[in-house]
């Protein structure tokens, strides 16, 4: 419960996120998605004051009992606005990525290797000597991700990382994150409104409404829920097309609603052949 708030931002949350999976959190505004992210990263209760009931554990660490500067090494948090995540004190991207490592007191040689590895991983080698303040939104967001990854957290939490990016920037961020899961076995929790991307990239989807978890499961099972759409979380354009077809009576009730382009193509083809 935030200070000054009348109602808690989250209620009855019980969630278990296994290692090495890509979890997307979807839901309408004010559903408590960011609060969930801040609680997982330990910013609640360490940064935001208020009341936290219950227990949050990240990779075995109790967030209440562990200081924030240790938690950030376990769970890295990425924010919406890429500009605000740039430290503002560095002249090149390379130095920017090293900022966290400097704070940890890592020796210079090790830092160099780590920075180079991380830039390779996120695919921003070509930006190394540019000024971090003079990049496009997508580039800046990937620099922000690299800056966090350089500290090798086990879990990456992203709070609407693509909301200020154009479609190309969003794609860059999504595929960078996806490749981290396959190559680094990272656990990712991403709050995201772009459901078409979520459907393609995420392993699991958590739907939140009014501070509670509405559903938790595979993208195709969660994103097609009627309750989620009615709560104002939207739906993918493929689901919408199929739902419209269902409302018009041309979509059999027993057919599942599609969430990706491929599923939609397949489903409409079956519809056409009458299978």
């Amino acid at each position: 419960m935030y200070p000054g708030a009348r109602l808690p931002a989250l209620r009855d949350i019980s969630l278990d996120i296994p290692e090495g999976q890509f979890y997307a959190v979807v839901g309408p505004n004010q559903a408590g998605k960011s609060t969930l992210a801040y609680a997982m990263a330990g910013y609640i209760p360490h940064f935001y004051r208020g009341r936290l009931e219950g227990k949050v554990t990240v990779a075995g660490l109790d967030t209440r009992a562990t200081p924030l500067h240790e938690l950030v090494l376990t769970a890295g948090l990425i924010f919406q606005n890429p500009f605000n995540q740039i430290s503002g004190t560095k002249f090149t991207v390379r130095e920017e990525i090293a900022f966290g490592l400097e704070n940890l007191g890592m020796p210079r040689g090790e830092m160099r290797t780590r920075v180079d590895e991380t830039m390779e991983l996120v695919g921003i080698n070509h930006l190394a000597d540019r000024s971090p303040l003079a990049l496009s939104g997508g580039e800046m967001q990937r620099v922000a991700i690299a800056s966090i990854l350089a500290m090798k957290p086990k879990v990456l939490i992203l709070d609407e990382p693509t909301s200020q990016l154009d479609p190309i920037g969003s794609r860059e961020v999504f595929s960078a994150v996806r490749s981290l899961i396959s190559s680094e076995k990272m656990t990712v929790v991403m709050i995201e409104h772009k459901l078409e991307w979520v459907a393609v990239f995420a392993d699991y989807v958590i739907a939140m409404v009014d501070g509670q978890i509405l559903a938790n499961g595979s993208p195709s099972s969660v994103l097609t829920l009627d309750t989620l759409q009615m709560a104002g979380a939207g739906q993918t354009r493929y689901t919408r097309a199929a739902r419209r077809a269902r409302d018009l009576g041309s979509w059999p009730d027993q057919h599942e609603l599609p969430v990706t382009l491929e599923e939609a193509e397949e489903a409409f083809r079956r519809l056409k052949t009458g299978a």
Partner: protein
């Protein structure tokens, strides 16, 4: 996107390659020299014999002059007029109606202009040849608290962003019909709709920025390291000590001359 706000020119020169602290002590030497030496002329000698060669060596002399005269010239004109004519008593040189130009007043004006010239140009010389982040890194290595260093460098770098945002808000409010021209009262009325969103949006930014810096383990206890290595020639520490001793000698000399 906004570039960094800094006078640093990023050229290649012997001076640019010097350690920031070496340049800091040299600038301090010129500053102290101009203030500590008595009489009008030593500051000009210092300017010609030390600052000009250093600026030429750094290849920033033209830029330095073009920046400096904007500050020094208005000051010089007003000091010459005010001190020259309004000096109480003194020896009159030329009389223009009821006013007369005084010798003592002119000498005082020459001294003040020399000092302001040295203060401005030694600062500019330092700012034009030193990367602010390297300066801060070297100061942190010498024990400056890193929080303080962060605040200073981040502030310098954030200024253009702030200007950019101010002009965005200005455009937005104009589009809604805000009057920004006209007489003083109309302009004053226009300030509030600009300042309020600027401050509020900056406060929102501050929160996110604080979180983001925290996410980079900023509050991690223990010694921080530095990614960039600040190159330094072997003779530079010696040079610094020589300059520091010279500064101390100048201060000593000035005190001694005053007690005579």
């Amino acid at each position: 996107m906004a570039e960094a706000f800094s006078l640093y020119t990023g050229q290649e020169s012997l001076i640019h390659k010097l350690h920031p602290l070496t340049k800091l002590t040299l600038a301090a030497f010129m500053l102290v020299g101009s203030l500590a030496l008595p009489g009008p002329w030593p500051t000009y000698i210092l300017f010609i014999a030390v600052l000009v060669p250093l600026a030429l060596l750094a290849r920033v002399f033209p830029r330095l002059l073009s920046l400096a005269w904007r500050v020094v010239l208005p000051f010089a004109i007003s000091v010459f007029l005010i001190q020259g004519f309004l000096w109480p008593g003194g020896t009159p040189l030329v009389a223009i109606g009821p006013l007369s130009l005084k010798r003592e007043g002119l000498l005082f004006a020459v001294t003040s202009v020399g000092r302001i010239l040295m203060v401005v140009t030694s600062f500019l010389w330092f700012a034009l040849t030193t990367r602010p982040d390297l300066l801060m890194t070297s100061l942190v290595q010498r024990g400056l608290p890193s929080n303080l260093a962060y605040i200073i460098v981040a502030t310098i770098q954030i200024i253009p962003r702030f200007q950019q945002r101010a002009s965005t808000i200005l455009d937005a409010q104009r589009a809604r019909g805000l009057e920004t021209g006209g007489n003083l009262l109309q302009r004053a009325r226009g300030v509030l709709p600009l300042v309020v969103p600027l401050i509020l949006s900056s406060l929102v930014d501050v929160e996110e920025r604080a979180l983001a810096v925290e996410a980079r383990a900023f509050s991690h206890p223990g010694k921080k390291t530095s990614f960039i290595e600040i190159a330094e020639s072997g003779w530079e520490p010696l040079l610094r000590w020589v300059v520091i001793i010279a500064i101390a000698a100048l201060i000593g000399l000035s005190i001694w001359l005053r007690t005579l």
